[in-house]
């Protein structure tokens, strides 16, 4: 039978300079099926084919800098073809600036702080990811921290706004805590969580004001 309808399930850009779209093939009708991605840019008539089916792995199309424009919406479609026929995915509209998925924050550090005049707190610090746009100092990233002790099931999630550090005031001595941090540009997607970092809280830590 003709191939099933493919679905473009994700398009994202790590740094607003390049981007990739991925699709899920439909049922292949038991026959060898070939996939073609085509696109055109709003305001232009020419229809182009995917410039690079390889760089981002199977069922993907990679648009390098040369093929990535910030100034137009891309209208993208994938066709599945076999001997019995052809089927087309729905159109996917892509505006590169709105699909930025940055790399995770880096250099996450954890410390127990014991101020002379206050309760101890867990101080989490990090630095923004390497991203061409933050280099221009113009893209505002927002951050989220998740934390739990080893035996807990649920993560506690804290929104840290634009801060690149966060103080956790409520935690239990004697436990090992696991921490991840992620980030998101104002219009864009959350990054993956950073690598896991952990810290052992001494069981004899005095939790009251000094």
């Amino acid at each position: 039978s003709p191939p099933g309808k493919p679905v473009i399930f994700k398009c994202s850009s790590p740094e607003k300079e390049t981007f990739t779209c991925w699709w899920k093939p439909g049922a292949n009708g038991g026959l060898p099926t070939n996939y073609t991605l085509t696109y055109y840019k709003e305001g232009e008539d020419t229809i182009y084919e995917c410039p690079d089916y390889n760089t981002s792995g199977p069922n993907s199309c990679y648009f390098s800098k040369k093929f990535t424009s910030l100034w137009s919406v891309y209208i993208i479609r994938v066709y599945a073809t076999n001997k019995m026929g052809i089927s087309a995915s729905d159109e996917r509209l892509v505006d590169v600036a709105y699909i930025v998925e940055p790399n995770p924050p880096k250099n996450v550090t954890l410390e127990i702080q014991q101020p002379e005049d206050g309760k101890p707190y867990l101080w989490i610090k990090w630095v923004p990811p390497t991203l061409a746009d933050t280099a221009s100092g113009w893209l505002l990233l927002q951050y989220e921290v998740r934390l739990k002790h080893e035996k807990a099931v649920e993560w506690e999630i804290y929104f840290a706004g634009q801060q690149t550090n966060f103080k956790v005031l409520s935690f239990y001595p004697g436990y090992k805590y696991l921490v991840h941090v992620r980030c998101k540009p104002d219009h864009g997607l959350w990054s993956k969580w950073s690598e896991e970092h952990s810290i052992e809280i001494p069981s004899d830590l005095n939790m009251n004001d000094e």
């Binding site: 709003e42 305001g43 424009s69 910030l70 100034w71 137009s72 919406v73 209208i75 729905d90 159109e91 509209l93 505006d95 600036a97 709105y98 746009d133 280099a135 221009s136 100092g137 113009w138 893209l139």
Partner: protein, 197 residues
């Protein structure tokens, strides 16, 4: 602006301006670094380059030197002026990159910055052209730009004259990229935010 398929949808004028400004801000920051890096590397004393000041090749473009003058220019003429300013650097930048390799101990970072500026300048030119079409579809861009005649000085046999020439080009690049950045931020508020950001 993800919109349902079938309907025509495009990047809004506000978004186009926001993106253009990210680029113009970045390009000017790079140009300032490039100019300072060159002066730090090749200056032979505190006042060495002050005598090097000469007119920029874009001086013939009449550009507003203050807010009041900026308000007096018709918006679509102002957008075209920005296009002319950007286009006036296409040729000098490509020659600067080629010739800079012949500078004594030319630092890689200096050439890399010039190349990044050239690339982003072309990107920004494409963007401002797109903006101009949205500002006024009837807009006519006659492909004008300021002619650059600076190549011979970049190839001068006399090292001091050559250094003066480079200093002046980078100083003018820094100035013109600041103008473009400033004008785009102003035009964004005037055009896309009805005069008040």
């Amino acid at each position: 602006p993800m919109c349902p398929s079938g309907s025509s949808c495009r990047v809004s004028l506000r978004d186009l301006f926001e993106r253009a400004i990210i680029l113009s801000h970045y390009i000017h920051s790079l140009s300032s670094e490039l100019s300072q890096e060159f002066d730090a590397q090749y200056s032979q004393g505190p006042e060495f380059f002050t005598q090097a000041m000469s007119m920029c090749h874009t001086a013939s473009l009449s550009t507003p030197a203050g807010k009041e003058q900026a308000h007096q220019i018709h918006q679509k003429d102002f957008v075209i002026l920005v296009i002319h300013l950007l286009r006036s650097w296409t040729e000098p930048l490509s020659h600067l990159i080629i010739e800079a390799n012949h500078l004594p101990k030319a630092p890689d970072t200096l050439i890399a910055k010039a190349m990044e500026i050239q690339e982003q300048n072309q990107r920004l030119l494409e963007g401002v052209k797109k903006i101009s079409k949205l500002v006024d579809p009837e807009i006519i861009d006659n492909g004008d730009y300021s002619v650059w005649l600076g190549l011979p000085s970049l190839q001068s046999n006399d090292l001091e004259s050559r250094l003066f020439a480079y200093h002046n080009e980078f100083r003018c690049l820094r100035r013109d990229t600041h103008k473009v950045d400033n004008y785009l931020k102003f035009l964004k508020c005037q055009i896309a935010y009805d005069g008040s950001c």
